[in-house]
Amino acid sequence: MPNDRTRFLTARIVRNEGRGEIFYRIEAIIPEPVRFVPGQFAMVSGWPGNDPLLPRPLAVFRSGGSKGKGKIEFVYKVVGRGTALLSGLHPGETLSLTLPLGRGFDLEQEGRSYWLVGGGVGFSSVFPAAAALGRRRARFEMFLGARTRGHLPPKEWTPGGKEPGRIHLCTEDGTAGYHGRVTDAVLERMKGLSQESVERLVILACGPREMLREIAAAASERSVQAQVALENHMACGFGVCWGCVVTVWDGDQTAYRRVCREGPVFDAREVVW
């Protein structure tokens, strides 16, 4: 699935609704379909006035449609003013979108098996990856973590949910699936793997920084390839403000790289944790 040309467009909301305890899904019509790489994102705004001023980055959750009429979907959690405003928008109202942005996951590796790890709302970039892998009939398992049952993504959003053993739910309070943090579930399962399996393994992860750090450490220890989707505050989202940098290794020096342009997906070994 190639990366499409970035564009700025106006979308008309057709659906915007809460699901489960904490998530929202927004669906909008756009002039043309957009092809994206899982992990890529959009800069989203739509509220009137200049406060808040900046658009918000959201991972592209789904995209479809045919010539002359595209469809785009995001899932989000209300955490502050921007997402609260987003949740108050109604069908018929408009969104401004710049998309697709950034470098997504590298899913095109032959003969690999994938572990997809999503913590919290991190499933928003992990599910599109699962869907893409499913279409390619690649082997993958998915680990989804949340504080409690109600904070797991709704079942009906989960791609490839039918195959047994494929999805590992984890809750910190034990109200669903594995009782513990998603990182612990991943680490435990990694322990049991043969060296051969480990060499074939690719981990793709999106979630809180602490989770990504631990996954990165475990992967590095067993020399597993890990790709992590980072977050940072953004002003532009397309590489011109230099506001969103994170610190990475550049040889044995450190350097600053833009999450919106060189990321959001980075090789876990590159990141200075």
Binding site: R5, T6, R7, F8, S45, G49, N50, D51, P52, L53, L54, P55, S96, T98, N232, H233, M234, A235, C236, G237, F238, G239, V240, C241, W242, G243, C244, V245, V246, T247, A255, Y256
Partner: protein, 309 residues
């Protein structure tokens, strides 16, 4: 239908229209190619260039504020040599008129930058960022005193035959005095304002939001201050004034022209709307057409101060 003449001379650089991008908000210009033909703009002012590549400040570089944002990027840039080698040919290919914004830690660095950039025939002008706080002179910004501005301008003037724009800091008591100092130093135009120094903290974690503690405020929040300063500067100097600060719409841009600016630069607006500059240009053209104003000169500086009888 009459096509209004929006061209204007900005201190020796004639631009086809008065809508420019502001330094640091437009990358090297090329990032906007997916959105529109950047040669349509009056000019592109690229991200501030230093002699060597600069890595900038640690993360915690931006924070949103009411109708504005603070930034403390720390002038991360690829350095003047890579700019000339990699970027300039592509800007030439794109047909863009472009201006280099420069910044040095010492006057000598400014001079070296100006000399080197003067060797680039396609470069339209040099804009001196005289609003940088990390310079000699006992920690006091160049841009904060008339003497500092006049001296810096004069020294750079001596190093280049290119149109020389001096970009002024708003963090001063009297912008008119500073603008006159730039003019006396030999500036062909003054551009203003740069960002206003501000600060944001988190009352729970008890830490600053920016690694640099303070940052520069930009966006719609500062427009009234920028407009006032553009007006004061335009009354104070004979060289063209380029208005900057919080411009988001054609109406905003026209306001700066009305108080006497010859052109405008659009900054933070590019972040929310990557097409902001060209949207503003089109809105301005539509306004001139509707109002049957034939040329920019017929509108510029036309603020009426007398009471309606």
């Amino acid at each position: 239908m009459v096509i209004p003449d929006l061209s204007v001379s900005l201190g020796g650089l004639r631009v086809k229209n008065p809508v420019l991008s502001a330094s640091g908000t437009f990358g090297y210009g090329l990032e906007f190619l997916p959105f529109y033909d950047i040669s349509r703009l009056g000019a592109i002012v690229v991200k501030g260039l230093s002699l060597a590549p600069t890595s900038g400040n640690p993360p915690g570089r931006i924070v949103e504020t009411a109708a504005g944002m603070l930034n403390a990027i720390g002038l991360q840039n690829i350095g003047v040599e890579r700019f000339i080698g990699d970027v300039v040919p592509r800007l030439e290919d794109a047909g863009a008129t472009f201006v280099a914004n420069i910044y040095g830690k010492t006057v000598e660095e400014y001079e070296a930058l100006a000399r080197r950039l003067s060797e680039v025939p396609s470069l339209g002008a040099i804009e001196v960022n005289a609003s940088c706080p990390n310079v000699k002179e006992g920690g006091m910004a160049f841009g904060a005193t008339p003497e500092g501005v006049a001296d810096l301008t004069g020294r750079v003037r001596g190093c280049t035959g290119k149109p020389l724009w001096v970009k002024l800091s708003p963090n001063v008591t009297d912008i008119a005095v500073i603008a006159r100092a730039a003019e006396e130093g030999g500036a062909d135009a003054v551009s203003l304002i740069n960002t206003i120094v501000g600060m944001a903290v988190d009352h729970r974690s008890r830490r600053p939001e920016l690694s640099n503690v303070t940052g520069g405020l930009s966006g719609p929040a500062i427009k009234p201050v920028a407009l006032r300063m553009a007006w004061e500067a335009a009354k104070a100097v004979r060289v063209p004034v380029i208005g900057i600060g919080g411009i988001q719409s054609a109406a905003d841009a026209l306001e700066f022209l009305l108080v006497g600016a010859s052109a405008v630069q659009v900054g933070t607006a590019n972040f929310r709307n990557p097409r902001a500059c060209v949207d503003i240009l089109e809105g301005m053209e539509a306004f001139f057409r509707e109002e049957r104003i034939a040329a920019l000169a017929d509108y510029r500086g036309g603020l009426t101060l007398e009471k309606i009888p």
